[in-house]
Amino acid sequence: MLLWLVFDLVLIGAIVWLAWAALAARDGFEMIVLFMVLGLFVALAWVRLQAPDVALAEAAVGSGITGALLLKTWRHRRGRAAGDAAADARPSRALGFGVMGLVTVLTGMLAAVLVLIPRPAPSLAETVFANLAVSGVDNPVTAVLLNFRAYDTLLEVVVLFAVVVVVWLLGDAEADRRAPRLGSIFFGFARLVLPVMVLIAGYLLWLGGFAPGGAFQAGAVLGAVGIVLLLGRLYTPTAADRLPARLVFGLGTVGFAGAGLATLALGNAFLGYPPEAAKTWILVIEAMLTVSIAATLAGLFFGAAPSGRPTRESDR
């Protein structure tokens, strides 16, 4: 249909233009905002490609959480870079040409891959749909992520765990003490929105069984609950929170790997759930992942192992 073609062309043009504008922006803040808008347009493109699972993940993680992390980093750098000329120095010419060469080679390789792909492209989609009945869920994406290729997802969770461990080792908890308070209107907003966000996270988790949704999307929404709490100073982590936080960070990896060991003990393959109870296995693993991913994302946003003593907040 012509109307869709026009829409798609406008969408593609907007994505390319936003990507360029984000790169060309002089101001760091402007750059980040353009990057977040780019994420929303890319999510729209995924919707047009009929991949709503990816669209949800892109909007929640790629645009929302990543945007929050970037803005926080920008604030840190602005605080420190005052009088630090080296931070603003332009990269050398040689580095510029090096990067240009690398990008050209990569683009050429991608183009070659696109041209050389056999048609019709090899696909496992039929195999996935043929085995959907034994996967325990009705959503093919969740079936692949949590059952057929659960091993890959486990490794993704390990990556996230490694990131939060490093960030908490390197971060400086004192750097953020002077963040501005957001005031009573934000407090009222948070009080209305937070319970609903928790509800939506649970809804997305349950939805993953038969429609777009799942642990990563639910974890991102639940992680945003943590970010709102931290931003509004409704909750200030103290040194006493380190141990429970670390336990929850590890819950995803340990729980997922533990489920894998349990399936081995039952005499199945690693992460080969018993087909008649596959739904329960997937749901329990996804629930652990959701909580763990949420805590990890909020922990990343906090950016360091908390060191403060509990203080009584009076200014709301």
């Binding site: 501005p180 934000f186 907003f189």
Partner: protein
């Protein structure tokens, strides 16, 4: 086209009009506060009309309820972020 569809499309276009007006206001108005004024108010009404139009087109109760919820929370979030931006602009003296 049924009368209901014509009504829905009319409402959708009215909603679009408010979005265009809000965007023009944001681009043309001189300072942070009047820009926010144009944007938050016009977009809230525009979104309400677009949600109403799509709700008429779907004629599905659960989808309509979801659209109403989306509108409510977007209005809440845009009012709050508008307030935060204005407050920051006021305190840092970037208002004009």
């Amino acid at each position: 086209m049924t009368p209901l569809e014509i009504l829905a499309i009319g409402i959708l276009f009215a909603g679009l009009g408010f979005f265009v007006a809000g965007t023009v206001g944001m681009l043309r108005f001189p300072d942070v506060f009047s820009r926010l004024h144009a944007l938050t108010k016009a977009d809230n009404l525009g979104l309400a009309l677009i949600a109403l139009g799509t709700a008429l087109l779907t004629a599905d109760t659960s989808v309509t309820l979801k659209l109403m919820l989306i509108w409510f929370f977007v209005v809440l979030a845009s009012a709050t972020s508008g307030h935060l931006i204005a407050r920051h602009a006021l305190r840092s003296g970037q208002g004009s």
